[in-house]
Symmetry: D2
Subunit: 361 residues, 4 copies
């Protein structure tokens, strides 16, 4: 526990602000090479920021993220604010030499995300885009099994992220405002699916998508379906919805290969279904050998959703300390950008009614 320290500044105090604050607090007591100091938190609503500061133990609160960018005590800038305030503060922080973690979706467009990626690269800082589901133990295990060739040649991918809160939600949420959120289910949930597809299988080269806004008077989409084609020609299906009754937070995927298969659902976050050529095995992913388990309990004592943020920040701190790169297990800004290109190809496809190639700048 004699780790060096790193000062952290965070923008955002709501859902993501809470998730990152708790993870930072947990990491002050875990084996990471840099011990996070909670220097300052920022946001537009002075009272809410101050309340978050006091609750989570940030040393200072501010309504101006520029103060954080200028703050020499801060070595890592975490952006957990609404999508519309991702780019400018994150780019500024990177240019000021701070390592950056920005929530997904990265920018409001692929162009903006590309700019963020380029800026972070040019600044030579570590950059991570908050695809936290990569830090579910079962998802990491899935990736490792795939890399080890346990499934043979991958031939199919199918995934869907289904929630149901959209039916009853308050229409004034920022998530329903195109100016703040960009898109709806597509950007919020579809990006997670695309992020997992890319992490587990590889680059997506073309998409055929359809998008719907079903609940009257909503300004953003609430349902998207797509077929996708990967680099090597294999096909997949993708779906995202906030209107699937009975599904609360069901981010689920299945990968089929020539020698076996994998299936997962975030609602059973600690389980990975692993098939050989015959049948599926339910693996409770809590074995001590797993890279995330050194922080936790004996086998069979399950983890929660919030713990994925702890794993993600631990990974970033290790990367900052030079222990490994952010990629491939952490999503970089490049991943955030490439995900946005897939999303934009989906929107073009929904418009054109045809398969659209995924662009690359």
């Amino acid at each position: 526990m004699t780790a060096d320290r790193i000062g952290v500044g965070m923008l955002g105090y709501a859902f993501m602000g809470k998730a990152h604050s708790r993870a930072l607090l947990a990491l002050r007591h875990l084996d990471v090479p840099l011990r996070p100091e909670l220097v300052s938190i920022s946001g537009r609503d002075a009272r809410a920021v101050e309340e978050a500061r006091a609750r989570w133990g940030w040393a200072e609160a501010t309504t101006d993220w520029r103060e954080q960018v200028a703050d020499e005590r801060i070595g890592l800038f975490v952006n957990g604010g609404p999508n519309a305030v991702h780019a400018e503060p994150t780019i500024a922080a990177a240019r000021a030499g701070k390592h950056v973690l920005c929530e997904k979706p990265l920018g409001m467009s692929a162009a903006e995300s590309h700019e963020m990626w380029q800026a972070a690269e040019r600044a030579g800082v570590r950059h991570l885009c908050g695809f936290n589901y990569r830090f579910v133990p079962a998802v990491r295990l899935a990736r490792e099994l795939l890399e080890a060739g346990e499934l043979g040649e991958v031939v199919h991918f199918r995934a869907r992220y289904l929630q149901s809160w959209g039916w009853d939600a308050d229409a004034s949420l920022w998530r329903f405002d195109p100016a703040q959120a960009g898109t709806g289910a597509l950007g919020d949930l579809g990006t997670h699916v695309v992020g997992l597809a890319r992490y587990l299988v590889g680059e997506i080269v073309s998409v055929s998508a359809r998008v719907r806004t079903i609940v009257p008077d909503r300004a953003v989409d609430d349902h998207v379906v797509a077929t996708i084609e990967f680099e090597n020609g294999l096909l997949g299906t993708v779906e995202a919805s906030r209107l699937a009754r009975g599904r609360i937070n069901s981010n689920a995927f299945e990968v089929n290969g020539s020698k076996g298969s994998l299936a997962f659902d975030v609602e059973r976050l600690n389980e990975l279904e692993v098939a050989d050529t015959k049948s599926f095995r339910r693996v409770l992913v809590t074995e001590p050998e797993h890279p995330f388990m050194r922080h936790w309990w004996p086998p069979g004592h399950i983890l929660g959703w919030g713990d994925t943020f702890t794993h993600q920040l631990a990974h970033l701190l290790e990367a900052i300390a030079g222990e490994h790169d952010v990629a491939p297990h952490g999503a970089t800004f490049e991943d955030g950008y490439r995900c946005d290109e897939v999303v934009e190809a989906m929107l073009r496809s929904a418009e054109s009614g045809r398969s659209e190639a995924v662009a690359s700048r």
Copy 2:
């Protein structure tokens, strides 16, 4: 048990021949208005037909289905042969005034299926296309719940039929020969999915599909993915594969509506998952009130896949006896035809790379 009798002639002696023979034998002892007499069985291989005749108790065997068409003792012609011999014998039988049951896919093309439908209609006979999954108790219950409005407005449909035998199969099977089978996973499995989509949700108006042949040297497809649009604008996803390791016979669908959801998998044929606005309930569909259950056991004593053929033939016999129409619960030749139009739109879409409208003659 004083039912009238109906003579049955069947073409086909392999998998489907066995399924229909067993169902006919069972129906000789169940409450149906017409008691089936097994008059004759036909097929190209004289020895195999004779063997099937002796095993299943058919009175006669022949290698010429024309004899069956001319046989006045036969009132119902069941065609369970390979796809390429569906149209001609079935049309001839219908023209000879026999009621007809033909396996799916109906014809080798939508045009041929249309011709079969028109011929059966003009002949004024009852016609049923063998989409036997409509006769799974849980599927009937699903349809009844949907009709009763239990799910509210339907908004999503997703389904996939996954098997894995394709990896290890004998390449000489007729199912891999385009001349006999037409297509591969698409016609064999995809048609079941399309059939269920139409039965449960409604007409499909456009499709965007991609098709692959993955196993080297196969002459038919072994994987298809598609997004579909129904009449009312709602979207769905469809997939069929013979290469999904760990999935043996997983014909699964989920329907989401504004008030609830349904989920089903043929591998758990006796169960229907039913959600209200909150959570899924596992219903063991063996209640005595269910229309198929009068033939069977007390609650909780489950049925097998073969029993769906018994239900289907009972339904057809009742329709022949005038108790009800074949539609909507049985698939008619119109259903077989409309399913083929969807399949052909999928093939066109896979070719064109764009969403294709489903045609109607």
Copy 3:
């Protein structure tokens, strides 16, 4: 299909009469060495027997089982009547040289069951007690895995048979009448559990049981719990109830060994959960290599509860034809008797409040 024939006489026309009739009809078309002829059916209610005769195609009906015993055309006597009429007709049939299948529980007491066993042995006929769950494909597979040592040394057994119809049942059912049924949940369901325990693990040497009648005015038990000790000292738990809401026909067991485990539930009759030292695998027991599967479909096409009767009768016909013994896979009258000794030890234990040794005559 050139098998020799065997004439069958059956006592009983209700639930078990239906199950055995259907199985016999099915076996007329399957590969068994003796083709069953349905010679005569008997029962006390003339009208009901005649109705059953006509429905299931028995050649004759009688209200006097003695006619069946005297009937030289009959080579196999199947007793599917209420428990109180198991012993006398079955013993008489055996003494007349007929092979005998009697439903479980075998006699009204261990003494009576012992007499039945001895009589059948002395008569030199084949005898089978209708523990049909031994003929579930997954249960046979479980036994084979255990015999092959796949689980290592067995250390635990737990099982329970839970139904819920007891809450709402008609009090006039023969199953609630001690004179006809003997006991309640214990004899009806508990015997199945004991039968499986003995088939899978071995002889039970002592039991500690508690029994309750919960629904007011019931004359037989509706709940029993017990701990059991097997020959080798290992322990198990047993439970049977007709009052477990949400459980329809849940006959479930789990066996744990030093190298792996097995779990099964009749509500998912086609599945066996198989664990190695790490995790459980869901095996869909429909592989063509399975000894029961030669009668049926390609993999993944599931079987129903009624099919276990077909397997059981096929097994008995093979034994009669000399292909193998009834034991170990079929339950003999010895098994029926030994099961009753366990049940009586449970009743003694419930009375004495202490562990009771299982007697042996």
Copy 4:
């Protein structure tokens, strides 16, 4: 976040020490009426205690718990050490006026536990025994449903706590040493089951148990089975094992009532299966109305095992602040004691071979 403060001293630095330390740290940032200050940690191994101190941020470390008892800054004493050091330090702390939380099993015997309870009562301090599974959200929901009468009259209870690490464990663990652990699976796992039985259903009046030590050379039991009788006459089954292959941490129960049922397994900690008179519903227990959810995330974002310790300590802090009593939702030392009486009755029953009444001092 202007809560009053309470100084905490803890004995123990291993598994339980970690669980409580993390919970205390989390509670410094949650809505509880007393903010915990981590004053000092104690244990026999000076180096290990210092390491734990540094890691978890305890202000001081000591090898003598008496210093903690004498420390006026400490208002709450948490005992997470081995079972053999539960009584003396906890009693001393209570006598010194400190509120006390002691891990389960409470004492090394019912007599010792009784003494601890009496001491704490006499001292007038709040006392909680660490049955953390009461603080699983699904378990609390189960209790609330039972209290609300949703299940009608409870008629059956069955539970088992199955692990498998015992096969491969290091024989030198304190858990295998009778002097430190008392019993084996019984005290470690069986107490959890008994604790849940009492919390959910009520007092246990008699038990019939059998106990085994299966792994050679183990000095404590590794398997126990029992039937139990509750105050109102209803029956249950209980089992605990460290040798059930494929079960990692499966603490599972089922309760059946006249109107419905409940089923739960810690391996799926966020789910409660809830049946009405027909079928089971899978409830993901993450709704915002749940009393534990105010600390956490939107619906569908699951919690981990460690979070139950946070809920438990929050509950105790609220009780110390006078917001409610420790009972009934928290286990008191009385609960710890009564649980031990059940355990001792089980040991007597295993010895005597008969049903033994649960004693009460």
